[in-house]
């Protein structure tokens, strides 16, 4: 009989999986993040596949890969697609209607939810009608979809209320006519991306510095700790705002600033403490006596043994980072509009308090996300560092 022994890590992962709400929260958040990353494929105003005059186009896929340097989203001019419009860029949703009407071998496949987070829909919120005489204006007698059951064609102005699954805009539109649902999904992507970047960067820096301080100790350590005290005494968000106010903030820039000002400190403290504890143990002396280089001792021997605080700290760091970005955007010093980060949504909602749907949905989504991360953090702590309280009564 072959009995495979489990490593501690395997045991811990098993224990983590057995805590259902944490495990499923992680799966759900991960899945949703994947969906949000693939957003351009299912929430976009550009078609996935377009066949026009025997030529194939894949605008949505180009849009998805736009973040890679070298790939730029090309300009699809409206005259290329025989669209008479004052705008230079083609309106694919309109093009779809035209293609469906003409039925001459052209083909278009739009994403499921054909709106873009930054897209201003001010003049496209009226009830849909069939423009029989191509004059771009609704004329009496043209067929239309009666969305509000008023019996007649009605014009809509932003913000429009949530229309549910039957209407075009699931959660309505905001005061400039942008789709709220699409913006929330995009905001989720931005928030999590920011949090992941900050966490990874601060882990790299924090582990390097913490390992160095903990391993060498002495005067370097004293200096390092003083430096950390100085950094932890600055009002973080305030200084971040000052720095961001004269830069052109992007997700990566804000992430770097927030790592520099605060991110690295917490993890450095933890790692430093762990290294202090671990380096006194016999296996370290053994490794050193065998002539292992300090770098290898630090990162091949000690680090794997001090991972527990790193992992249990991660969800809290992520929550903190999400809050940082939301606060920063809320105060107007973060990502600039029309970026659809949650802070921008909240800011916009706070300025337009009469439109409840602009506020409620972002707040609910934000709360649920944080709530689920809390579940994950609880489960991780339970798996890595179980505490059993025994009581008499």
């Amino acid at each position: 009989m072959n009995i495979q022994s489990e490593s501690i890590l395997q045991k811990r992962i098993k224990r983590f999986k057995s805590i259902k709400r944490g495990y499923y929260s992680l799966l759900a958040l991960g899945f949703l993040y994947m969906l949000a990353l693939l957003g351009p494929l299912w929430i976009n105003n550009k078609p996935l596949i377009l066949k026009y005059d025997d030529k194939y186009y894949f605008p949505a896929i180009v849009d998805l890969l736009d973040f890679i340097p070298g790939i730029n989203y090309p300009l699809y001019e409206s005259k290329t697609f025989d669209q008479n419009s004052s705008r230079i860029e083609v309106d694919f949703r309109k093009l779809k209607k035209e293609i469906n009407k003409q039925n001459n071998g052209n083909f278009i496949l739009m994403p499921i939810y054909p709106y873009h987070p930054h897209e201003d829909l001010k003049d496209q919120l009226d009830e849909e009608y069939d423009d029989l005489n191509n004059n771009n204006v609704y004329d009496f007698g043209e067929p239309f979809i009666d969305e509000n059951n008023s019996g007649g064609w009605s014009e809509n102005h932003p913000p429009t209320l949530p229309a549910g699954f039957k209407g075009r805009h699931l959660l309505g539109t905001d005061n400039t006519g942008r789709d709220v649902f699409v913006r929330i999904v995009d905001g989720y992507k931005i928030s999590i991306t920011f949090a992941i970047i900050v966490t990874i960067l601060s882990y790299i820096i924090g582990i390097a510095i913490g390992a160095f301080l903990g391993y060498y100790a002495g005067k370097i350590d004293l200096f390092g700790v003083r430096l950390m005290e100085v950094f932890s005494a600055i009002p973080f968000l305030f200084t971040l705002m000052i720095l961001a106010s004269f830069m052109q903030p992007s997700v990566f820039l804000l992430a770097t600033l927030s790592v520099f000002l605060k991110g690295w400190i917490g993890i450095t403290y933890y790692i430093r403490g762990e290294f202090f504890r671990e380096k006194a143990k016999d296996y370290v002396s053994a490794a050193v006596s065998m002539g292992t280089s300090p770098f290898n001792v630090m990162f091949k021997h000690i680090l794997p043994n001090s991972l527990t605080p790193i992992i249990t700290w991660a969800p809290f760091a992520i929550i903190g980072d999400i809050f940082t970005l939301v606060s920063l955007d809320f105060l107007g010093y973060g990502l600039k509009p029309p970026t659809s980060s949650w802070g921008n949504l909240l800011k916009q909602a706070a300025e337009n308090l009469d439109n409840w749907h602009m506020l409620i949905f972002p707040v609910i989504v934000l709360t649920i996300t944080i709530f689920m991360i809390t579940f994950i953090s609880e489960a991780i702590r339970e798996a890595f560092d179980p505490k059993i309280y025994s009581r008499l009564r």
Binding site: P235, L237, F323, S327, F330, I360, I370
Partner: protein, 439 residues
């Protein structure tokens, strides 16, 4: 603690001094704008290039001196601290020609504002040394009271004395630039000057301190009053339905940022979305007709305005405190000394209250100092939501208008409060935990 204070202020000072578009650049811009509007740029230019509105080096140098930028950063920091003397007034003058220095504006006289002045003379001695002399003070016009006399003409003055002006630079044969300097910085209790409000930062902050302190301290006390009993209850009834439900509520509270909760509350209570009429006021610290209100009216008005912000302040540390209290008590209840206490035959109430709870409060004591700092220092989010003109709002606006005086003043106070908070925590620690003694 003290090195930390210096380190932190130095760090922020250097950041502020090295970023572009500070007060100096703003001043340059303003002068350029003024020049452009008055058309001076065009007339003086021979060609049509845009360089005509560039300022001359002389003006730039003067401006730089005015903002103290002619010195290295470390010197500027020491000046800001008040260790080195700060150049307050600056004058280019001719040797042997006296000029009037305005010391103080007394106020509006009968026709014109009247100020207290004195004559200053740069005097070249026989051996070529320059000395700067001043006269007695006097007013430029007749002041209401007889406290001051009118400053006589410069040529009638016989008693010249040495004054606190010093020679900065000799420009040429006849002209010199002189400065008046004074020790004026954080150590002398001077926090800086706000360029936007044109007032002392200390006064601006002091005027708003009661608002931020009221909200912060009320929220702080209330959250401890609620969280400690709640935490104890949760620990004693661990696993019960009460525990689970309250945990759920606490974690939802943790998941909403306090200011977002504030906006939500505004939506519910201050708009007509939920109720037919707004229940609570949406903006401001006090009712606008504060002066006309009776005492009871003032109290009610203040309560109505402060209610939502205080709730938001509470929410900030609510979850952390409750769970800390609960976990800490749980841990203590599983300790041997509790078992011993029970074995002695003490009642459960006595064991919990006198033995376990007292020990469980130790981790909370560490939070006290930190929380004071948080409540005072990071209030701009909540103050912005509720439109309260407190310290947070003042400093928040200062970032937008690049009012470095206010920013640095706030950093000083914020850091100071935070460090003081740490000290308080340590003291509370010793107070509660008899094992810790500072010796």
């Amino acid at each position: 603690m003290i090195p930390t204070f210096f380190g932190t202020t130095l760090l922020v000072f250097v950041i502020l001094q090295s970023v572009p578009s500070g007060p100096f650049e703003q001043a340059v811009m303003q002068i350029k704008m003024a020049k452009m509007q008055s058309g001076e740029g065009q007339t003086s230019s021979s060609s049509d290039d845009k360089g005509s509105i560039e300022l001359s080096d002389r003006v730039l140098e003067k401006l730089r001196m005015q903002f103290g930028l002619d010195k290295p950063v470390w010197k500027r920091y020491l000046i800001w601290l008040g260790v080195l003397k700060k150049e307050i007034k600056f004058k280019e003058t001719q040797i042997g020609v006296p000029f009037r220095e305005t010391i103080k504006v007394l106020g509006q006289g009968k026709y014109v504002p009247i100020s207290l002045q004195r004559w200053i003379l740069v005097y070249e001695e026989d051996n070529g040394d320059l000395s700067i002399l001043g006269s007695q003070v006097g007013t430029d016009f007749k002041w209401k009271t007889d406290e001051y006399q009118i400053l006589p003409d410069a040529y009638d003055i016989e008693n010249w004395e040495n004054i606190n002006w010093t020679l900065k630079k000799k420009i040429d044969e006849n002209n010199v630039s002189i400065v008046s300097s004074k020790r004026q910085g954080v150590f002398t209790g001077y926090l800086g000057h706000s360029s936007k409000h044109n007032e002392d930062v200390g006064k601006l902050i002091w005027d708003r301190l009661h608002i931020s302190a009221f909200l912060g301290i009320t929220g702080f006390i209330l959250s401890y009053l609620v969280c400690i009993p709640l935490g104890i209850m949760k620990a004693l009834k661990h696993g019960s339905r009460f525990d689970v439900i309250s945990s759920g509520i606490v974690f939802i509270g943790y998941s909403i940022p306090a200011y977002a909760f504030g906006v939500l509350m505004l939506l519910i209570f201050s708009t007509t979305t939920v109720f037919d009429a707004p229940i609570l006021p949406s903006r401001g610290w006090r009712p606008e007709d504060w002066e006309q209100l009776t005492l009871i009216g003032k109290m009610i008005g203040q309560l109505r305005h402060a209610f939502l912000p205080t709730v938001c302040y509470m929410l900030g540390g609510f979850a952390g405190l409750t769970m800390l209290m609960k976990n800490s008590l749980m841990e203590n209840l599983s300790q041997d000394y509790v078992r011993t206490a029970f074995a002695k035959g003490l009642s459960e109430k006595r064991v919990v209250v006198y033995h376990a709870v007292r020990n469980s409060l130790i981790p909370l004591a560490t939070g006290i100092g930190g929380l004071i700092g948080v409540f005072l220092a990071s209030s701009y989010l909540i103050e912005k939501v509720f439109g309260i003109d407190g310290i947070g709002m003042l400093t928040f606006k200062a970032i937008g208008s690049r009012d470095y005086g206010i920013i640095m003043g706030f950093i000083v106070i914020g850091t100071f409060i935070r460090l003081l908070g740490n000290l308080i925590s340590d003291l509370c620690y010793a107070l509660i935990d008899p094992r810790i003694r500072f010796k």
